[in-house]
Each structure stands twice: as structure tokens, then as C-alpha cells.
Symmetry: C2
Subunit: 437 residues, 2 copies
């Protein structure tokens, strides 16, 4: 049930800047890049059903958001500047208890709209009512790795229910046969899932060859509690339960120690950095990027949900990542612009299994076109620096995912309806939460 965004068939993107050259890009009717080069436009003009005039725009691989709770767009601004426990127990959880599948559908549509407008083509989502989320993603045309948040709170009864929920969800996604939407298993965290639950998740993911999406060592409390209760740090426990695999994305990792970084690297786990959320919630420590890098771990980027960010713009997130690392670890050379851009593109794309994030023949056509004449791109001493440190997502003109043009000249089809319906869903959700008090 995919939206017919500006047409189908082969696509020619003419005259874009790529690695210092002006080239044309030919995309075949399966959404794969067929050719990249100076003369591609001249020779292929007849083959293309659709043509985009790039006008010298900068072509970048589409950005990838490896940790979010998409439908939490409905909670954007709902509760702010509060102590973590009070924020969760008095505001976030009570309103989430009133969420419906229809809310998640519109919240996810709003999230997809925001991502498309800021150049994100793929994301990893963990939330509830994930079949409704899948419906929204399919209509919007992005790529997504979707996981149902598995939380058993160490109750055997709940665990059984969560196993069934996970199975039902994964089956429903596989039955879509949509190459852009893949299921993952979503054990929430070691403090919300029993070790039996974690083992089940690991085995289920292994047997289906699908990904695992989990929160790891976001707060100091999580680490201290694990050591107090089980005598071991979180990453060791997750390893014992089989959670650490090359198909695993571990979000946050603020409180990892050096050995944990090494183990994550050995297991091939991707660690998703979420600098904005970590700063807003005052986690007290930034992900140790330097140790992860030394150990050779893959590090990607995430925005977390809109309740704790409150934006899904990965351009801003790249700036926060590059600056938080410098500040927190007291090194102005840590996480330079090129590495921040790689976190938001190639690392994320590989982590979610959506290609290599290269604009080259044989790769999926996940391409964003950036305005070269924007103020944030002037002057042009260093395009990568401008992208990471100066621009925001508003510099994106065109977003292409697997060959589908999701936005062109900053127009996303259906935008008005999404804004209206998501606003209405958020308002009535907040009303229901108020009335229940």
C-alpha cells in the first residue's frame, strides 16, 4: 500500500555535486542506482521516466536515524524540564496509557514527514501498536526497521504475553513483503526485561535472522543497579543472554566502560549515539566515542523520541554529537565533521541493513539534495563542515528513498493532512489523559 509519490519508473537526477564533481545519477525502475557520471544524463535521457534538475545541488547519501520512538511526535512539548522519574511517572507513562493504534499511525506519519523534510530516509523505531506504525511508514515511503517494545518487568505472565506479541508483530511485518520495512526484536532494557525474556528475544531474533534493538547503559542508575543486583555490568549480562550480535543496535551507551566498549566491538554491535536526548535528560556522561572508536565499534546516530529531543532532525543531531563529544571528553579534535556525517549515513545504513550509503551503481538510490546557495553553505570552504556544523535539515531540497522521490523542492505530498490529523490526535490524547486524572 505504497503511496504513488511523484511517479514510478526510471529516474534521472541531473547536475549534482558529488565528491567535488558535477555528475548525473540514473536510477532504474527498481530504485537502484544504475549509473553515476558526467555524461549519464546525455546518454540516458530517453530511458528516464522522471527527471530532477539538480541545478548544482550537493548530493548526500540519505541520513539514517538508528534510534527513535517515532509516534512520540504526539508528545512533543507535552512535558518539559522535569526530573526524570517525575517526568516519566507523572507525565509520559500516564499519557502513553491512553495511546491508540490510530494515534500511533498519525504520530508515525508526522515523524516520517519530519524525517523526510530533514533528509532522513531510514530509521529504527521501537514503540507500541507497531502494525499501525508500519502502515504509516509504508504510505510515507521511507525504510524502517520496526520493533515492538518488549517489557516483561520480570513477570512470567507478562513475558509470555510479550513473546506472543513479538511473534505476532514480526509475522505481520514479514507478511507485508515490503523490502523497505523489516522487523526487529525490541527488548526494552535490562531493567525492564527479565534475563529469561532477553534470552528468548536473542534466540527468536537469531532463528529469524532479524535485528535486535535495545537501550543500553543510558543512566548511571542502570549500571549501578545491575552491579548491585547481579554483580555484573549491563553489557556482560546482555552478552550472557546472547543479545550482542552484528544485528544488534544498542542505544545510548553513555555509561559504558572501556571493557564494555571492547566487547561491543568484538560482537559487532552498533552503538547508537543520542546526544540531544542524553543532554536534555542530564545523563551525566556522554557516550565514550573515543573508546568505541579505538575498539573498532560501529557508532551510529539517533534522535530518540520527540518527548526527549524534541526534533527528528539529524543535521542538528550531527552538530550536537560532534560538539558534545568534544566538550564532554575535553578534546576539540574528537569526532570531526566527516566522522559525524559517517555516523548519520554509512554507519546507520549498515546497522539497519539498508545498504552501504554510497551513491554508486548497484546501491539503492537513497539520496538527498542540499541547497548549495543556502546561507549555511556560504562560503564553500568545506562542504562537510557546512553540513555538520552550519546547516539544519531545512537545507534539504529533495529526498529520495530507494528511488522514490519523497520530497522535491521541499514539497511532501499530503503534508497538510498529516499536520492537521496529527495535531488533532495529540490534542484529543492529551484531553483523555487530563480527564483520567
Amino acid at each position: 500500500m505504497e503511496h504513488e509519490l511523484p511517479g514510478k519508473g526510471a529516474l534521472l537526477v541531473r547536475d549534482v555535486r558529488l565528491g567535488g564533481e558535477r555528475v548525473d545519477i540514473l536510477v532504474d525502475d527498481r530504485g537502484m542506482i544504475a549509473a553515476v557520471g558526467r555524461d549519464v544524463g546525455r546518454t540516458a535521457r530517453g530511458e528516464a521516466d522522471r527527471v530532477i534538475e539538480g541545478g548544482g545541488a550537493v548530493a548526500l547519501p540519505g541520513l539514517v536515524n538508528t534510534h527513535t520512538h517515532a509516534a512520540m511526535t504526539l508528545l512533543r512539548g507535552y512535558a518539559e524540564d522535569m526530573p526524570l522519574q517525575e517526568w516519566l511517572s507523572e507525565k509520559v507513562w500516564p499519557i502513553e496509557a491512553h495511546l491508540t493504534g490510530e494515534d500511533v499511525y498519525w504520530g508515525t506519519k508526522l515523524a516520517c514527514l519530519e524525517m523526510i523534510r530533514s533528509g532522513t530516509v531510514a530509521f529504527s523505531d521501537m514503540y507500541f501498536f507497531m502494525q499501525d506504525a508500519a502502515r504509516a511508514v509504508a504510505e510515507m515511503g521511507l525504510c524502517a526497521l520496526l520493533s515492538y517494545g518488549f517489557i516483561d518487568l520480570c513477570s512470567e505472565e507478562k513475558r509470555e504475553a510479550e513473546c506472543r506479541n513479538t511473534e505476532t508483530f514480526v509475522r505481520s511485518i514479514l507478511e507485508l513483503h515490503n523490502p523497505r520495512i523489516k522487523p526487529a526484536v525490541g527488548p526494552h532494557a535490562i531493567y525492564t526485561v527479565s534475563q529469561e525474556g532477553l534470552r528468548w528475544c536473542a534466540e527468536y531474533a537469531e532463528s529469524h535472522g532479524i535485528g535486535i534493538h535495545i537501550h543500553v547503559s543510558e543512566t548511571e542508575k542502570e549500571v549501578k543497579d545491575a552491579v548491585a543486583q547481579w554483580g555484573r555490568r549491563p553489557v556482560t549480562i546482555l552478552d550472557e543472554c546472547g543479545i550482542l550480535t552484528p544485528r544488534t543496535v544498542a542505544a545510548h551507551g553513555c555509561w559504558l566502560d572501556r571493557d564494555e566498549c571492547t566487547l561491543l566491538a568484538h560482537r559487532g554491535v552498533t552503538v547508537a549515539h543520542n546526544p540531544v536526548s542524553n543532554m536534555k535528560l542530564a545523563t551525566g556522561r556522554a557516550m565514550p566515542y573515543h573508546w568505541l572508536k579505538e575498539a573498532g565499534a560501529l557508532v551510529s546516530l539517533g534522535t530518540d523520541g520527540c518527548a526527549s529531543n524534541n526534533s527528528l532532525d539529524l543535521f542538528t543531531e550531527m552538530k550536537f554529537a560532534a560538539l558534545l563529544q568534544k566538550f564532554a571528553w575535553n578534546s576539540p579534535t574528537l569526532l570531526p565533521a566527516e566522522e559525524a556525517l559517517a555516523m548519520a549515513t554509512s554507519a546507520g545504513s549498515r546497522a539497519l541493513g539498508f545498504g552501504n550509503s554510497r551513491i554508486a551503481p548497484g546501491e539503492p538510490a537513497d539520496i538527498v539534495l542540499v541547497d548549495p546557495h543556502a546561507v549555511c553553505n556560504t562560503p564553500a570552504h568545506n562542504t562537510t563542515s557546512n553540513i555538520v556544523y552550519s546547516c539544519t535539515g531545512s537545507v534539504v531540497q529533495t529526498t529520495i528513498c530507494h528511488g522514490s522521490v519523497l520530497m522535491h523542492n521541499r514539497v511532501v505530498p499530503g503534508e497538510e493532512e498529516i499536520l492537521r490529523e496529527a495535531a488533532r490526535a495529540a490534542e484529543t490524547l492529551a484531553e483523555r489523559a487530563r480527564e483520567d486524572k
Copy 2:
């Protein structure tokens, strides 16, 4: 020599959201707000020479950038991710040695363009060739407090020259008789200006009733060196030299101790927080906002120059400020959204002497109109939170400074020429620096 931006005469801004109400705003032909209310449009329609249809846009006071080096837009992206000393001595200073007045003119025009596009109506600038900067500001229509960067490096000869330069500059600005452009004295910092120089600056500013713009305690080295050399911390030294006044803006303040915060508050100094620059240059400590707040000091916001930011967008800067404070001082309740917005508006406006930042009769008409239907403003649980945590400067539709419409529907007159000429100036500047190596 002010630009004739969309016309002169009385201005009616119809149907905007202000404090939960839908109102009209009438601006008289001197740029002052004459009336605000529901029926203003109906009764005043005949009086207005120009009408802006707000369409339910959110009206905010114009933002104020209290610390920047505007023409450093030309260095945006020129040198990145380097150790501080190497960055300054091998890249920034060598290229600055080649700056001309014409470069500063175009760099400042580019800065003004960027500020207008992100809702900033006033700023405090410290740099060289400041008469050229003044020319740029006058043409662009913003308000500015301009200071010539006074640096004597403890040489008596240099000090004499800097005193004459300052006198010449201040006189030239006063002779413009432009109410939007005011001079300040700009002693660079305690480590670049002798104490004789600081005293002269303080006395000169006092005798002319003008402001003082200075860097204070940006790095730990500055504090340690002061204690080692003079046995006193920087703020004490500045106080002895007469620099601490209610007309003083002290930029950075990362390494202030508690007593210094108290003294700054007693003297009525405004401290300009520059979170992005501090993070990028890894200052190692965030300005102690909680101590300054406790002491009752006025705290404003600045972007610093584009070499260390690399943007002049105060929306992004508000988010960085609110998040850096939370993270660095380990408190998710520190610097809530309302206080971040006040830093960027009322605190800045009062610090620079450009009004009270209120959209009310008798105040200068410094107003920005924000798109209420942007994704970042959806849903509308909390407009202030959306402005600070979710939106960037691209949400601004219209920027009005002292009644002049500097941008409407995101169009700034003359934008193309500025982008072209600033890009050219930056390129030839970098070439001159390269050839000189």
C-alpha cells in the same frame, strides 16, 4: 544610508498569536508599536501604509545576539576540528591578517542576512574594520552595538594606537546619527589587553556613556594565568580596572567561580552565554548559569563568530544553551525553555540598550513571525518548548526591526548579491592567505 526595505510608513500586522490570543499589531511611522489588540486592525486599517497578513503566525520579540564577530562568516568551515592553539595560530590569525575593509563589509552583510533569516534583530559585534561593518549593518536594517577589538598585548605603543583607533571608531559611529547603530568599547580580554589599556577603555566608555564588550574567563588557562601572574582571578582584575558596569557584556564566563558570579551580579554586568562555541572549542566547563541566576545576574545569549560555531541561528543556540546547562551541571530542570527564550530576547535587548523586548505599545517594533503550521510546531502542547527545543531559525517567516520589514515570507531583498559577493570575498581571502604561506 538605509535600505528602503518593503516601504516606510505605518505598518499593520494582522492576525498573529500573542500570549494565547489572536491580535493585530499597529506600528507607527517611527517604528514604534502604537497598539496591540483584537480590534486594532479594524479601527486602524486606514492609517496603515503597509499591511502584513499574519495568518495566525506566532509573534515573538526579535532575538538578540549579544556576542559575535559578524564578519567571521567568511571563515565558516575554513578550519575545523583542530587543537585551539594550532587552529588560532596556523589558520585563523594568518587568514585574518589578510582581511580588508571590503571583506568585513561583505562578511557582515552575510552575517546580517543569516541573522535576519533566523529572526535576530539586534547583535553585539567585536571585530576589525568596524566602519565597514557599520555600513553593512546600516544597509541591512538591523540594530547593532559595534565595538572595535582593542588588543595592545601590553605594548605601550600599541596601546596608544588602539586608544586612537577606538576614539576614531566611536566618533565615526556617533556621527552616523543612526538610532539602530551604537558604538561600544571592545577591550578584547585580560590576556590581550594591559591593565592600563583596560582602565583607559573603562574611563572612555564611562565618559561617553557607551557600552563595554569583553571576553571573560572563556578558558581555564585564562584563569590560571591570571592567578599565577597577578594573584587574582579575572573578574577581580576587571573590577579594579573599572570594566564591570551595567553597560558591560562579558562573553563566555565558563570558568567563573561563585564569588565572581556574585560580583558580576552586583555590578550589573550581563554575561553572554555561548554554548556552541564553548562546546566546539572544548572549554572544559559550561558557564555556571545556576550561580549567576542565584546571584541575580542578567544572562544573555551569543553565537560567537562563525569560525567556532558555525552558525548565527539563535534558535539552535537556545537549544544548545538549555541542553548544555542540564548536561554539564547534571540537572534536567536547569535552564527551562522559558528562561532560554528570555536569554535570547529580553536579557539581550536590555543588555544592548535596544528596548525591553516586549510586544506592547510604546516599545520598538522588533517582531518575528513564526510559522504555526511547521512540523516543529506540531502538535501545539507548548509553543515556548517548540520554539526552544524543536524549531530552528528556518521557522521564521517574517522579521521586523524597529518597524522595518527586513524579511517577509522568507524573502530578504538583495539576498542573491550578498551570497555571491560574500562567497567571492571568502574565496579570494583564502587564496591570499594560501599564496602568503
